[in-house]
């Protein structure tokens, strides 16, 4: 079956349980974990947010912190050493751009996730990713 395996599969993570649960089905499509890529998209800070005003934490520091936070969570649920990308901006655009950059063969994501951030509410990000993605998208129910 290995001829069916994909070279690079992208899973967007928004810290919701549902998005973490997408990693397992995504793993089915790849031979090794190294072909699996995760991305989290941070929102840009408002210019009047004290953190943005004084550049503290800087964008790089924010990304580093999220990477650390995510790899801890991932090793808790049994996935060590998955490559994590953190981008800042509008979720759909960043996910689609990164998919193109790594020449992803597939994007796997839940239809809607985290209620608190309400970002995936009504699956709108998933919907837009489907429309703009350069590769097939698997939406999990």
């Amino acid at each position: 079956m290995s001829w069916l395996k994909k070279e690079s599969v992208l899973v967007p993570i928004d810290f919701s349980e549902l998005s973490y649960q997408a990693i397992a089905p995504a793993k089915e499509f790849v031979e090794s974990l190294s072909s699996l890529k995760l991305i989290h998209v941070l929102s840009p800070l408002h210019p009047a947010d004290p953190a943005a005003m004084w550049d503290s934490p800087s964008d790089d520091e924010r990304k580093q912190k999220v990477k650390k936070f995510m790899s801890e969570k991932l090793s808790e649920i049994g996935f060590d050493n998955i490559s994590i990308e953190v981008a800042i901006g509008e979720p759909t655009g960043q996910i689609v751009d990164y998919a193109a950059e790594i020449k992803a063969d597939l994007i796997v994501m839940p239809s809607h996730g985290y209620k608190g951030a309400k970002r995936f509410l009504l699956g709108s990000v998933a919907e837009r990713v489907v429309r703009l993605s350069p590769c097939p998208v698997l939406i999990l129910k």
Binding site: P47, A48, M53, W54, D55, S56, P57, K118
Partner: protein, 534 residues
């Protein structure tokens, strides 16, 4: 399709549907304001700007009339105290006594903390105490410090300035209370940034006291008032008075308010939509610099007219207690003074707690103590200087200048001594207004996110920019009324929560002060600082 919709409805919690409906109502009200009513006016007479702008103004007035009925009912008859102002006064007096005049007791400590004596790089949070204070001040020190004082003196006589100072003094304690809570119940997000403010402390703090429902209700109420309020105090009022200050020195702009509105909206839009983040840092430097220049000019005017100073201060104090001073009597001066002070220093409104939550500390009370400097700098210092200049130069009492109000009255007062100073006021006012608008768009955006989530933030930004335009073209009267009511309304849920948690605030404060006195909280030692440098 219908089935899908039904299924969708099941997924959405009931509260959310209510909030969304409410949001839609508010949104359509505002859209009606900016889109439909001007169009109706334009159909009548496309050539006359009066019809176009008049339509907008009539609508703002319409909203104000309804809000007036709800928040401004007067307690004690015709000349009584408007309910919402009384609420603020009670809040400020209550916390001053409940916290045993902490505004005096902790003043020196506040300055020590701002100077960085207690900073520790290991504590959680984003920025230093000084940086958090500067960020909050760029929201509070707005054109209100120049124009608001003039408005207060116009409406309430020179005595209103006395009550503004008093309100600033008492407001230091309510500011401490809300910012302490803001720190205590903030949330540190995975990227290290902080989420804080009344939405957080009302819901989290009260739920810790077993009042989760009340807390959520108050937090939602606050978020609604803050999202709308940001369009008044932090937007339309600023745009309106920035236009007044600028057109005062560039008279050809007088009939081009729409152009000014578009330019101002474009500048603010570049920052809040274009994401020019670093402008925040520029404001962080420019606003204090302008404030210093402004204060120096005030001192100059005072110095030049030094012999008249005692009698000017005498006028302010005697008219504060003289019931015949104006139509509203002494109560009128108190009401106007407290209202304009709260409008300027935001004490009791809860907004500044959003910025103060970002300070790096493990002692919530410590940032609260820093925050009490805010009403002091904003109201007791800057506003007071403006008031003394206005009363000293006497322009307010000159019958030939009776039609001057707000920024123009302040400018005319300065022009008595420094003829070119209206230009400085125009520049300072413009910068103050822009930085305050950017800060308030942040507060409003936090509130909006709490209600509707991050996905609709651009809707808020568009509404915000539309209001920049509306504020520039509409007359002061309705803009001021709308801004006042919505800003003061924020104090309703905010102070209610602070009252309920006042026991906790007092306990935390007592524990902090006793540890401070015992010397166990010695300023961070030098080795800890060298870690920062590495």
């Amino acid at each position: 399709m219908k089935q899908d919709l039904l299924r969708l409805r099941q997924y959405l919690p009931k509260k959310m549907i209510d909030l969304r409906t409410l949001g839609l109502i508010i949104l359509s009200l505002i859209l009606w304001d900016v889109v439909i009513s001007p169009r109706a006016a334009m159909a009548q007479d496309a050539a006359a700007p009066g019809g176009f702008l008049g339509g907008i103004e009539a609508f703002v007035q319409g909203i104000v009339d309804i809000l007036n009925l709800i928040f401004y009912f007067k307690i004690g008859g015709e000349n009584g105290f408007p309910f919402i102002v009384l609420w603020l006064v009670i809040g400020a007096v209550f916390f001053t006594f409940r916290l045993k005049f902490i505004n005096i007791r902790a003043f020196k400590h506040a300055i020590d903390v701002v100077r960085g004596k207690y900073d520790s790089a290991e504590d959680e949070g984003d920025v230093s105490h000084f940086q958090a204070l500067a960020a909050a001040l760029s929201g509070t020190v707005g054109i209100g410090n120049i124009a608001g004082v003039a408005i207060a003196i116009r409406l309430g006589g020179p005595g209103a300035a006395f009550w503004m100072t008093m309100a600033g003094f008492l407001g230091m304690s309510s500011k401490l209370a809300e910012c302490t809570l803001g720190q205590k119940y903030r949330v540190i997000k995975p990227d290290g940034t902080v989420g804080g403010g009344p939405m957080y402390y009302l819901s989290r703090g009260l739920s810790a006291m077993g009042m989760a429902k009340v807390g959520q209700g108050l937090a939602t109420m606050f978020a609604i008032f803050c999202a709308i309020g940001s369009l008044g105090i932090g937007n339309m009022f600023q745009a309106n008075q920035a236009f007044a200050a600028v057109s005062n020195v560039l008279p050809f702009l007088g009939s081009l308010s729409w152009l000014f509105g578009l330019i101002l909206a474009a500048i603010v839009g570049l920052v809040i939509i274009g994401g020019i983040e670093r402008i925040g840092a520029v404001a962080g430097f420019l606003v204090p610099a302008m404030a210093v220049i402004y204060a120096l000019a005030c001192f100059w005017v005072i110095l030049v007219s030094l012999p008249a100073l005692p009698s000017a201060i005498g006028t302010i104090i005697t008219t504060a207690f003289n019931p015949e001073a104006l139509a509203g009597g002494a109560i009128g001066a108190i009401v106007v003074g407290f209202q304009r002070a709260a409008f300027s220093n935001e004490a009791g409104l809860g907004s500044a707690a959003i910025a103060h939550s970002a300070a790096r500390t493990d002692e919530p009370v410590r940032e609260g103590i820093v925050a009490l400097l805010e009403p002091f700098i904003d109201t007791m210092f800057i506003c007071n200087l403006t008031a003394i200049v206005i009363v000293l130069t006497g322009v307010y009492a000159d019958p030939t200048a009776a039609d001057l109000d707000g920024a123009q009255l302040s400018a005319a007062s300065f022009a008595q001594v420094i003829s070119w100073f209206p230009y400085v006021i125009a520049v300072a006012g413009f910068l103050f207004a822009i930085s305050t608008m950017i800060s308030w768009s942040y507060y409003g955006q936090q509130a909006w996110t709490y209600l509707f989530g991050e996905s609709t933030i651009n809707t808020y930004k568009v509404i915000f920019l539309a209001c920049v335009f509306v504020g520039s073209v509409v007359n002061l009267g309705p803009v001021l009324d709308f801004s006042d009511i919505m800003a003061l309304a924020m104090s309703l849920p905010n102070l209610m929560g602070c009252f309920l948690m006042s026991g906790l605030i007092a306990r935390e404060l007592d524990s902090y002060m006793s540890r401070l006195k015992s010397g166990e909280m010695l300023p961070e030692s030098e080795p800890a600082r060298s870690v920062v440098l590495k």
